[in-house]
Symmetry: C2
Subunit: 251 residues, 2 copies
DNA sequence: CGCAGTTTTGATTCATCTCAATTTGTGTGG
DNA sequence: CCACACAAATTGAGATGAATCAAAACTGCG
């Protein structure tokens, strides 16, 4: 299986302990995108050791001092903030090649927890060094800015989802989004495993867990997908896409 | 009135046509924050001419090529995206000293419209030049990153508002947010004028216009504020703050 | 003064939440 | 390996908050 190959590869590169972007199969998705060979070798010197995290452990917590941003090497993460009334609220899920921790730049304090949803590895990128290096390498600077901007756009898309879509549509949009991201990583866009619980999905989508469950059931009944616990199979992607274009009012 | 002073000041500095951050009374809120005198003078060379926009006019539109970010010198803006089904959706309001347009960095194409809510002036900051200059001035680079990060944090806060707060609470949070921002600019935090329509507020808050109207009426009936059309007076800020800490379920 | 657009208010409908019960899954220790 | 307890997910019935539909009041502008 794909998973196994991935694991073998990790074991292999991890033997060197030191992360090396230049050797990483995620470099087309991650920070190094668009860098030349020579530039990449500079980046190699900056990226700290990789860091293993067991499922459930955190990379940083709310209130921690900000010192670095992180790239997912393998595994799956969630980030969650604390609401005014003390509840956790998932603000994002991160998979291989995705970067998180940028929330901490502005105040130099993290304002979310970053928690591994499965045994994972991250690459640590000390932010001060990253800034210093990006003063040397224009294409690195530019790409860093693009990554931050992409996060802004992503969050704004999420705002739109939350304010305009109905429960079922939110779930469909969520699954389509995962599908695309898996596809970009060479995994099947139609069949995948959810790493997060229904609880976490509902928190992320601004719904109650029962509503998410009902949405899954309803999409299944409409033959748009198959659900077996956390295993998802999208049966009718065009129809799911069409759902997203549906106005909020009852169609 | 305060407004008049502001206007006089504009007329005055505008006589020079060229914007000068070093002379700007917003420099503690805006891009130049934390720069030395010498660094400021470099920034002065980069900031393009100021740009006047009449109420209703746009600075950029969805699909426009991205070339610069903008700082509000005077006036008020909204940014709005297009939903899948073709409706406009307000994603933010920008006031003096706030920076917008960073959504365009990632794809080099803007994905929102930026529209003046009143006759306004913006300072145009060509992004390529800004990047080049930030390679010379570490504190400028750092602050640019903080500004982008702040936008990320802001958007995530909005996601939380949209997924956890009830209609009335959203409106209260919106007003409290405006209040703080006015206060930071030396205006009254308890009494201010809304530049945006109920329609725009409702779009921003993910509600219908009638619901926003009812929320205003209800907050008024509870003696938490006075509403006279677009003129708002916050009567009980502690109570409004307390509202925000209220769990989503019926109190 | 009258007209168009905006805002407020009211009555009803509908989607999601809440509460409750059941089923399914997971991990632990005998 | 199975039994048990506990957590996660599903399903159902009813309550509730916001949307919708409709109409009235207000605002601003020529």
């Amino acid at each position: 299986m794909r998973e196994n190959n991935e694991n073998l590869e990790i074991t292999f590169t991890n033997a060197g302990l030191q992360a090396a972007c230049s050797q990483c199969n995620l470099r087309e998705l991650c920070l190094p995108l668009g860098l030349s060979e020579g530039e990449l070798s500079h980046v190699d010197t900056l990226i700290g050791k990789r860091h293993k995290v067991a499922r459930g452990e955190s990379i940083f917590r709310i209130g921690d001092h900000f010192g670095a941003i992180y790239a997912v090497k393998t595994g799956f993460f969630k980030t969650e903030m604390l609401t005014e009334d003390g509840h956790h609220q998932v603000t994002g899920f991160q998979m291989a090649g995705e970067i998180f921790g940028m929330d901490g730049i502005s105040t130099e304090v993290h304002n979310c927890d970053a928690i591994a949803l499965e045994d994972s590895e991250v690459c640590l990128m000390p932010f001060g060094e990253l800034e210093a290096l990006s003063m040397q390498i224009p294409s690195l600077q530019r790409h860093l800015h693009k990554i931050m901007s992409r996060e802004i756009v992503r969050d704004q898309g999420m705002m739109m989802l939350l304010s305009t879509m109905r429960a079922e549509t939110r779930v469909a949009a969520f699954l389509m989004n995962l599908s695309q991201r898996f596809a970009a990583r060479g995994y099947s866009p139609v069949e995948f495993h959810l790493r997060m619980s229904r609880e976490e999905i509902s928190s992320y989508l601004g719904l109650k867990i029962e509503t998410v469950s009902r949405a899954f059931s309803h999409l299944r009944d409409a033959s748009l997908l198959e659900v077996d616990k956390k295993h998802i199979r999208l049966l009718d992607i065009p129809a799911l896409k069409a759902l997203l274009n549906t106005p909020a009012c009852h169609s």
